[in-house]
Symmetry: C2
Subunit: 208 residues, 2 copies
Amino acid sequence: MANSRWTAAAETPPVSLRRRGPVLERAILEAALEQLSTVGWSGLTMEGVASGAQTGKAAVYRRWPSKEDLVADALQSGLPTLDEAADHGSIRQDLFELCRRVRDAMYSRAGFAMRSVLHECDTTTAERFHGVIVRGVIEPSNRLFREVVCRGVTRGDVRADITSELVLDVIPGLMMYRSKVCGSEWPDEDIAEMIDQVMVPLLRPSSG
Amino acid sequence: MANSRWTAAAETPPVSLRRRGPVLERAILEAALEQLSTVGWSGLTMEGVASGAQTGKAAVYRRWPSKEDLVADALQSGLPTLDEAADHGSIRQDLFELCRRVRDAMYSRAGFAMRSVLHECDTTTAERFHGVIVRGVIEPSNRLFREVVCRGVTRGDVRADITSELVLDVIPGLMMYRSKVCGSEWPDEDIAEMIDQVMVPLLRPSSG
């Protein structure tokens, strides 16, 4: 009953809901994330998303030819941006703030949706969404970790002889491992422990 | 055609194939791993395993009431044992040899089968198999990493002030991360780089 009312509304939206361009797109992407959170990848339909966004199915298909395209964009647009790492005056504080932002991205609504989608979809689709994670979280956070470490070398609280990329992978490695194996959601105190007990000893100049 | 011949053979095995106890069990577990490698979790059937082991279906069901039980045991028994870490005289060499063994477990036939099963099966079954990984690889290797680090403290090539468990998770974290994100299969030279560029600087006594 509620369903047919929604469908009718979706096909002929009331004048007050006629949105265009970015506003309508935003509403559709939001509705897609909402659907992922409630009914998951398998339950998500273009019709359901159109209903949720209070628009017509055609408006969705016009922008996204398939469910995969729509979900990829919804996940990407739902992730917090990781575009710069402010200078807090020490490697310790810079890493701490950056890790909190990466943690917030992992546990954002889009982050949760991403993991559940990856578990539900087939291998080919999973590869595409894996690409969204790489471009949306892994690459930008790696770029920022590198920036923060280079800044530490210039400042003098990071040793200058780091040559291995593996050093930059220690934080993302620990975050992934503890999240997957122990179900950790990385509260601030665990991030602080990782910085103080692992990263500071690993990065400090040998005279320190 | 080949199929019906096999099925007939399976139900009434020739006298020369009448094996009992551990020998038959070993053959069934081997056949289950073989099925996982070829047809995957979804394709594996108790009949197929019985055929592969050249025995009857009843012999399989007598030991394992379900496909889940059989596969859990097959995965567990197929993993190389991680029960002790020999003393090679330095933290560097001890960690190197231990990492190679963990890598060999990850890329054993059972290790490959484990990852593909986890991707195919439903969530409840996945939790059970996740337990097999934890008990078969993660817990024993963590115990050995701890042993090797403690031995280093006694020997004097590891600092004595390590208090955080996170230090012990750096290697498994890096191994999981690079395997998942970059598809690394951890050749010896990458293991050596991880030990020399990450673990040795992280663990060395501060006077070093």
